[in-house]
Subunit: 224 residues, 2 copies
Amino acid sequence: MKISVVSKILEANDKLAAANRMAMDAAGAYCLNLMSAPGAGKTTLLTRTIKALDGALRVSVIEGDIQGTYDAEVIGALGVPVMQINTGGACHLDASMINDAMKEIPLMETDLLVIENVGNLVCPAEFNVGEHIKVMLLSLTEGHDKPLKYPLMFQESSALVINKLDLAPYVDTDPEKIKRDALSLNPSLKIFEVSCKTGQGIGQWVGWLREIHSLHRKNTKASA
Amino acid sequence: MKISVVSKILEANDKLAAANRMAMDAAGAYCLNLMSAPGAGKTTLLTRTIKALDGALRVSVIEGDIQGTYDAEVIGALGVPVMQINTGGACHLDASMINDAMKEIPLMETDLLVIENVGNLVCPAEFNVGEHIKVMLLSLTEGHDKPLKYPLMFQESSALVINKLDLAPYVDTDPEKIKRDALSLNPSLKIFEVSCKTGQGIGQWVGWLREIHSLHRKNTKASA
């Protein structure tokens, strides 16, 4: 009984996620679902990314938070369209929330739609929202044991961005262990090492974003 | 329909939490539910705490992780009884898991039972497991916006331990804003600032633990 309720909720979520994806594809918007633990630096990475893209891709953002509009205000100040979802306590975004938020985003004028999920290393990985790729961010300060302790997010993501490299001299985290364990869970995971504070590594990350966006656009046109 | 299912789950959880509490009280074990985001340093705080207590309180530990026994091995090496719960994907501990784990803990020889919850700043705060107090740990590296973005955990906790003070010179976090916002959510919140790396502030934290334990023991005896 309990299991059947859960599976019906997931089924409804997956149907809505597919509908979201169709609307994104029709508009030519490539969608990235950005996930991390609280305080890993999602909003700062997004700020760096938007500035580094410098208009090369038109970015729109959906911000997910339990309450408040703090991150949306930061992103809005950069002059890109942004929509805030307040989950009111829920620990992840789902396809229904994204379906509502998409209506407020100028999708036809969006090349890259970034969804900043609620800060949580567990639940967001369980819910597809219609994104083309999932990317996760891990702060070096969180320690090198995270891949083996929170495996699902590392398995579900296409790319892992390791942030706060500037703090490497002051923490006991071994980035090589993070990379080794993450790749053991997901051999095709693309890994970037950055400092959103100093800008280190942002060029490679943004170059890859432009590359996968361009590849997606070619594939979409080829199949149209 | 969906709501009634959820409320029944919570009702069952609360009943079991009350049963857990009765068993703890009967054994004279004071129970602390330790919560934080992933990588804030729960296991390191626990290690420091056990060493600083140096047998003044007999500690037992229940470790909650999605998978693995990494933290239980660290705690077990200190020579205290430890039981590992693997949630198999679930993002928080509930009263039923604690009920099972308690059977494996020598409760009669335990003064302080510490439950290390799954690393998550959202869901663990929603589930009572029978604990006498909830304590949350926040790393300075997570930023000063966390109280207003994740209010429930700050509201539910009796104490907030701010960790990684040793990294203060290298991050842009304002600890005064953390304290101000946390106290606005929960005026009776007790706040400690520590570095589990250097040991700074651990004395005050452990002193307080001994104080509330002693107070609880007096109250329990008075009402018996």
